[in-house]
Structures are given as C-alpha cells and as structure tokens.
Amino acid sequence: AQSVTQPDIHITVSEGASLELRCNYSYGATPYLFWYVQSPGQGLQLLLKYFSGDTLVQGIKGFEAEFKRSQSSFNLRKPSVHWSDAAEYFCAVGAIRTGANNLFFGTGTRLTVIP
C-alpha cells in the first residue's frame, strides 16, 4: 500500500535562510510525487511534481525537489526563504496503479518564518 511520511511536524527558519522539508514514500512502483502548499484557510496549491526523467524538479516560487529512489525520498528545498513562505506543506504520492489519479498525502509540515 502507498503511504507518505513527513517526519517534521513543525519547522522554524529565519528569513533568508535555506529550507529543506523531508518526505519519504512507500510505493510498489515508480511513484508520481507532488508537493502542495496550503496557506491558512486556503485550499492546496501545487508547487511541483515528479513523474519521470530528471530527478531534480523545479517548481514555482523558487522551490525545487529531488527524487532519490534509493532512499524513497522526495525532499523539498528552497535556497532562501521569504516571510510569505510561511504555510503548511504537504507531500503526496499518486495512486496510479488503480487507474485513477487520486493522491495519498502526508500529515504535513508547518513552516514558520521568523524575521
């Protein structure tokens, strides 16, 4: 069965510092992987996705993520965090085997940015 683990419930970083959010997945085949961001009271916005090819994926707002098959990981990074990046971040794996495209989400990592 597919599952996603985000080991960090809450991370605090200073504005301008670098950021790495961890994501580990369990899936029996090559996964489709996603990172979404959710601001308070809002829906989810896609940051980036990985299906195949280059394992380093660029997304919106200066985010990138690297797929590492050997570690079953898809960590999200940003070189310099802005105050507006404070939000909840969710990693998800796509259940492509079922023929549908529903997503399985991790429990999220809350990012706090301090000035």
């Binding site: 829906g43 796509g94 079922t98 495209n101 529903n102 997503l103 399985f104 989400f105």
Partner: protein, 113 residues
C-alpha cells in the same frame, strides 16, 4: 478562467443531520475528487468521479456518497453526521490521466455539533 469553486464556504450542522457540498471543476476538467482534511492532518481521499460514475473510493463509510452531473460539477453528501465528520472538505478537479495535476478548491469547512 475560474478555478475550482466550492459552496458553501462554511457550514454548521448537528449530529444525525445530512449535508450536501458542491463543487464546480476548473474549465476543461472532467474528473472530480473529494478529500476530507481533519484539523492538523493531511487530506484523505474520499472518492473520485469521472463520466458521472464513482471511479475510485477511499476508506470511507457508505454514509459518504456523491454524484457527478453532465456538466462535470459534483456533490458530496454525508448522511447521519457524526462529530468526527467535522473537517475541511476539499474538491479537486483534473483530467483523468494519472499524470494530470489535481487543482484544489478552497474547501468547505463543516462543523458538526
């Protein structure tokens, strides 16, 4: 081009009541998925509709049912509400292929008293 829209934005119900939530997909999309997001948790997949049929279902009881209309909009119905049904209900639309991105609406916040 409007994105995914959901109504109502907030809802308060009492235990045992029934509720209907509505979703209009992004223009051009034919697939609607529903997710439940409890406080402090990630979204959990309820079910997905395509061509007016339930295509896939997550681990939710039969009290949760849905419908998709010919214009691709969708409804989520929950019967016999429980306190534990209090959550943010998110609708996502996409094309059906697995690699297609799901676009989420702002959600409906349901409180069951």
């Amino acid at each position: 081009d409007a994105g995914v829209t959901q109504s109502p934005t907030h809802l308060i119900k009492t235990r045992g009541q029934q509720v209907t939530l509505r979703c209009s997909p992004k223009s051009g999309h034919d697939t609607v998925s529903w997710y439940q997001q409890a406080l402090g948790q990630g979204p959990q997949f309820i079910f997905q509709y395509y061509e007016e049929e339930e295509r896939q279902r997550g681990n939710f009881p039969d009290r949760f049912s849905g419908h998709q209309f010919p214009n691709y909009s969708s409804e989520l119905n929950v019967n016999a509400l429980l306190l534990g049904d209090s959550a943010l209900y998110l609708c996502a639309s996409s094309l059906i292929a697995p690699q297609e991105t799901q676009y989420f609406g702002p959600g409906t916040r349901l409180l069951v008293l």
